[in-house]
């Protein structure tokens, strides 16, 4: 029974992985691709690792997979944020249909304050 629950978790994770990579191919912009891919793939990989823990149980690889869940869930959003910030500062343009760009507005405000001083 616990094996079947683990396999269900692995199935959910596989579906999220595949949809995240499909978003990485199909979306029009760096930021859209980053959003789709990072969210879907992080949840997918965490789900696969949790399914591994359910199947293997409280043995050495099970505990290591729990540790790996914590690590992936902590580091993947940090890496995504750093990549988005670097891309915006490097001048990668947004998609034409984008509505709002708060980070550029913030930088303009900072420049205005510097010019006043």
């Amino acid at each position: 029974m616990i094996n079947i629950i683990g396999l269900i978790f692995i199935s959910i994770g596989i579906a999220f992985d595949l949809l995240g990579c499909l978003g990485l191919v199909r979306l029009p912009d760096v930021y859209c691709r980053l959003q789709a891919a990072t969210k879907c793939v992080t949840l997918g990989t965490c789900s696969i690792l949790f399914g591994t823990f359910m199947i293997v149980g409280f043995t050495a690889p099970g505990i290591k997979s729990l540790l790996c869940i914590v690590f992936v869930a902590l580091t993947a959003p940090v890496a995504a944020h750093a990549i988005a910030r670097g891309a915006h500062r490097a001048g990668v343009k947004l998609y034409k249909g984008s509505v709002v760009d708060r980070y550029a507005e913030d930088k303009e405000g900072e420049n205005e304050i510097k010019n006043k001083n």
Binding site: I10, T45, I48, S65
Partner: protein
């Protein structure tokens, strides 16, 4: 020319789908687990997702696309290592997964600093 490229991609995708349905990936079997066929198909689906990531590495218009794809590829390999841990019953695959996640994180941070145009020391 565009039709030619679409045709190549369609042939690769249809081939992988046929492989997923017909023939699970053969590997060293863990004898107590009765779900070998399902796990073999899971490995094929992860390989399909990795091929989609490699397409984005190949055709990325800017450098940021390639960096995003490499980061996602690293996270995907961790899932592959977890599935291999179950299916072969050898516990050192998950060690490779942990080490790969750490390396991928450091690689993404370094490449984003490079993209930002600064040096690595500040």
């Amino acid at each position: 020319m565009k039709i030619f490229r679409w045709l190549i991609g369609a042939i690769i995708l249809i081939g992988i789908f046929i492989l997923i349905i017909i023939r699970p990936l053969p590997f060293l079997f863990y004898p107590d687990l009765p779900y070998i066929g399902f796990l073999g198909r899971v490995l094929y689906i992860i390989i399909l997702a990795c091929i989609l990531c490699l397409y984005r590495v190949w055709r990325g218009p800017t450098g940021a696309d390639r960096i995003v794809a490499i980061d996602i590829l690293g996270i995907m390999i961790v899932g592959l290592c977890a599935v291999l841990t179950i299916s072969t019953g050898r516990s050192w695959y998950i060690d490779i997964g942990i080490a790969w996640a750490l390396q991928s994180f450091i690689c993404a941070l370094a490449l984003s600093k490079y993209l930002e145009g600064k040096g690595f020391d500040d």
